[in-house]
């Protein structure tokens, strides 16, 4: 039996008393590529934020690499890819500088960056196809290239588990392909992936399991479901706003 990388047991999360996740249990084993699917406001992003300890559980428990999340300290084993570049901007930063942050989990706060760090940054940039943009300010990159920068940042720490929050939302086709390529290389190297997605696109062949979150509960856990309704249409234009109260039900019942 493969070791469990993530377990969530009866997880409950509420914001200001309003429940977002109600009794969610989930296990991700080493080598799996698990996609969390669901409508906007279904709680899918909250689920991975709870796994990473960014939002507190009001009840239930999370373990990471077999260790209770509260005691977990081996953060270098996890690479986190948020939805977008942090709000802190204004001061310019180069692509390489942003990616170099990914080495901190391994290096710690006090040690200055060394040759191994620079090599890992260069390799991560190559993996996402941005090696030639290393010295450019991130603000001059397209949305898709910024997303690839964030993936490179996570890869630079050479993690065993990648956690990605909507990595393909609003990303151009070339970036989606480059991203799928980088993810495939990571999985082939034995990595485990947990990602939140609205639609899978070129990632679909990589996914080993899909978990559908619906109104704070897990509605489906198994094979990737077929898109239903207007999502299945070939010219489906995916531009609806991220409002929390969108009527649920796009994925139907399991």
């Amino acid at each position: 039996m493969t070791p469990e990388v993530i377990t969530v047991t009866h997880g409950v999360v509420g914001y200001d008393g309003r429940p977002v996740l109600r009794d969610v249990s989930l296990t991700v084993s080493a080598g799996e590529v698990v996609a969390i699917l669901g409508a906007n406001g279904s709680g899918k992003s909250t689920l991975i934020r709870a796994v990473l300890g960014l939002v507190p559980l009001s009840s239930g428990s999370v373990t990471l690499f077999g260790e209770p999340a509260s005691r977990f300290r081996q953060w270098h084993r996890i690479g986190y890819v948020p939805q977008r570049l942090g709000a802190g901007s204004g001061v310019p930063a180069t692509v390489a500088e942003v990616v170099a942050s990914g080495r901190l989990a391994r290096r710690g706060v006090l040690r200055p960056p060394g040759r191994a760090d620079r090599a890992a940054v260069a390799e991560a940039l190559r993996a996402v196809g941005l090696a030639d943009r290393a010295k450019d300010p991130v603000a001059t990159l397209s949305g898709g290239q910024q997303q690839r920068t964030l993936i490179a940042r996570a890869l630079a720490g050479r993690p065993e588990l990648l956690v990605l929050d909507e990595p393909t939302a609003g990303v151009d086709a070339a970036s989606q392909e480059a991203f799928a390529e980088a993810l495939r290389a990571f999985v082939d190297g034995g990595g485990t992936v947990l990602l939140v997605a609205h639609e899978l696109g070129p990632l679909q062949p990589l996914i080993s399991r899909a978990v559908v979150v619906h109104q704070g509960l897990i509605a489906h856990d198994g094979a990737v479901p077929e898109p239903a309704g207007h999502h299945a249409a070939p010219d489906h234009d995916h531009v609806h706003p991220h409002c929390p109260e969108e009527p649920a039900g796009l994925w139907g019942t399991p």
Binding site: W75, Y80, G86, R103, L104, R107
Partner: protein
């Protein structure tokens, strides 16, 4: 330059140079965090410390450091909670700080000239002991900001990512708050409470007009801070202007000059035909082709 044969002018110059170097090195993190005016607020709180020092006959600078550190840590804890009422709490802290300072100074026997020294700076009255305090604290701030640049950059750029990287986010935030308080207090001697933020923020704003990366911006901002401090003291010496205000006026003048030059440079580059960069692929949605 004969004015610098006077020791007090030399002390003023050295104090200004240390602050000119340290303030932007710290300020860049505040700008990145969109807390550009926090130095101003902490300066207001420090003024209560000055008032208490003058009233009780203890060192105003030490009391200011204590008040500023307490104020900065309180602000950081309010920010961390991310409540909307944090805005109001900050306002209470800032205006409470300055009002408390003015009341306490009034209660003490000090004259209004004494308060002015802290409001607008009094570099030329820098004593040898003051200079040592400024130099030690300034260099400590400088070393911290440079040595912890990767970690502080990560926290200011993306706090959640830093948390998932296992960085001691809270400790780093509090460290930033405390070093801000210290910088504010030593800069208070140079440019005064009312102009402190200028020295932290304006060189950074100037540098980022022309730089492409964070490290380059930090280096350029420190160079600009050093220039404004040195030239400002020189201007004050030859033209008999207020030293603190002269430093800030020069920092802002550099901002205007650099902004105009950068705009001009961009216009020249735009009119010159450039080799077309490879076209970006069109933004498309998958499954849409």
């Amino acid at each position: 330059m004969s004015l610098f044969q006077y020791e007090f002018m030399l002390r003023a110059l050295m104090g200004a140079l240390v602050i000119g170097l340290a303030a932007p090195a710290l300020g860049i993190y505040l700008v990145q965090r969109r807390l550009a005016l926090i130095g101003d607020g902490i300066g207001h709180v420090a003024l209560t410390g000055v008032g208490a020092g003058l009233l009780f006959g203890t060192s105003p600078v030490i009391m200011a450091v204590i008040a500023a550190v307490i104020g900065a840590v309180t602000i950081e804890l309010i920010r961390e909670r991310g409540r909307t009422s944090g805005d109001l709490a900050l306002a209470l802290l800032f205006y409470g700080g300055i009002a408390g300072g003015v009341v306490l100074v009034g209660l003490s026997d000090s004259t209004s000239a004494n308060l002015n020294a802290y409001l607008f700076g009094a570099l030329t009255t820098t004593s040898p002991t003051d200079l040592v305090t400024i130099a030690v604290l300034g260099v400590a701030v400088l070393i911290t900001m440079i040595a912890l640049r990767p970690a502080l950059f990560a926290v200011c750029q993306d706090e959640e990512y830093a948390r998932v990287s296992g960085l001691p986010v809270r400790a780093l935030n509090l460290l930033l708050a405390v070093t801000t308080a210290i910088t504010v207090t030593i800069a208070m001697r140079a440019v005064g409470v009312l102009l402190i933020s200028a020295l932290m923020v304006v060189p950074v704003a100037t540098a980022q007009q022309v730089t492409r990366g964070f490290r380059a911006t930090m280096a350029a901002a420190m160079a600009l801070g050093l220039f404004a401090a040195g030239a400002g003291i020189w201007l004050a010496a030859v033209a008999d202007t207020a030293p603190g205000a002269s430093v800030v006026v020069l920092a802002i003048a550099s901002f205007v000059v650099v902004t105009l030059l950068a705009a001009g440079w961009r216009r020249i580059r735009r009119t010159r035909p450039e080799p077309e960069p490879a076209p970006e692929p069109h933004e498309v949605v998958l499954g849409g082709s």
